[in-house]
């Protein structure tokens, strides 16, 4: 669970999740393009790659090699742990 909070604590990583929520199966190139154009983030490709590693470790992003290219996909399943640990109070 620590990995999830660590992953979500960074604005660039949250922006990556926003973009993957809009369209799955993006290459590193597409993610970098979207971050630069839509979020004004001019991080290096290497920095974005490292952010993706953190998101992958937290299970929030899956990288899948298909043919010659690697695609990144969002997985929100780990976020359910947060609501399980602190469920919303039932209204009487």
């Amino acid at each position: 669970m620590v990995e999830i909070f660590h992953a979500l604590a960074d604005g660039t990583r949250r922006a990556i999740l926003d973009e993957l929520a809009e369209r799955d199966e993006q290459t590193l190139f597409e993610i970098c393009t979207r971050l630069a154009m839509k979020h004004g983030l001019n991080s290096t490709r290497q920095a974005i790659s490292q952010h993706l590693d953190v998101l992958e470790k937290a299970g929030l992003v899956h990288a899948e090699k298909r043919g010659r290219y690697k695609f990144h996909t969002l997985d929100t399943t780990p976020l359910a742990q947060i609501a399980q640990r602190w469920p919303p109070k039932e209204t009487p």
Binding site: F29, T33, Y69
Partner: protein
């Protein structure tokens, strides 16, 4: 000094010539046998006297690891200009071209990225109206 030719490294020169002419629609310019390989160039039918693309064999061992790494991360080798990316995307998809990135709005331009079947990704870009 003029830019007469630019290089694209290809897995197979004949397959590349077929894709760049019959699928993309470029016109063949030079095809000169040079021992094992050939000097093969194509140009845009809209500007046949402008810059040619030389379809070069990947005969140096450093080339394939380099181009594979670019393709793996979805990075295009070069970019061609089109009037309308969406129209061109639809035309190429109909011809069986695989895109790693569908038309994406990138501010002043719309871009898309496809696989040239001979080891490279190519970007097409068009100005947004």
């Amino acid at each position: 000094m003029k830019i007469t030719a630019m290089t694209i490294f290809v897995d197979d020169q004949q397959k590349a010539l077929d894709f760049y002419t019959n699928v993309l629609g470029f016109v063949p310019i030079a095809n000169v046998p040079l021992g094992e390989h050939s000097w093969i160039t194509v140009a845009s039918p809209e500007a046949p006297d402008a810059t040619q693309i030389s379809l070069e064999p990947k005969d140096h061992p450093a080339v394939t690891p380099f181009t594979d790494a670019l393709v793996g991360d979805g990075i295009p080798w070069t970019s061609f200009g089109v009037d309308d990316v969406q129209t061109e995307y639809e035309r190429l998809v109909e011809r069986g071209v695989v895109f790693t990135q569908p038309p994406t709005n990138a501010g002043p331009v719309t871009i898309a990225v496809f696989d040239d079947t001979v080891g490279n990704l190519i970007q097409i870009a068009g100005m947004n109206a």
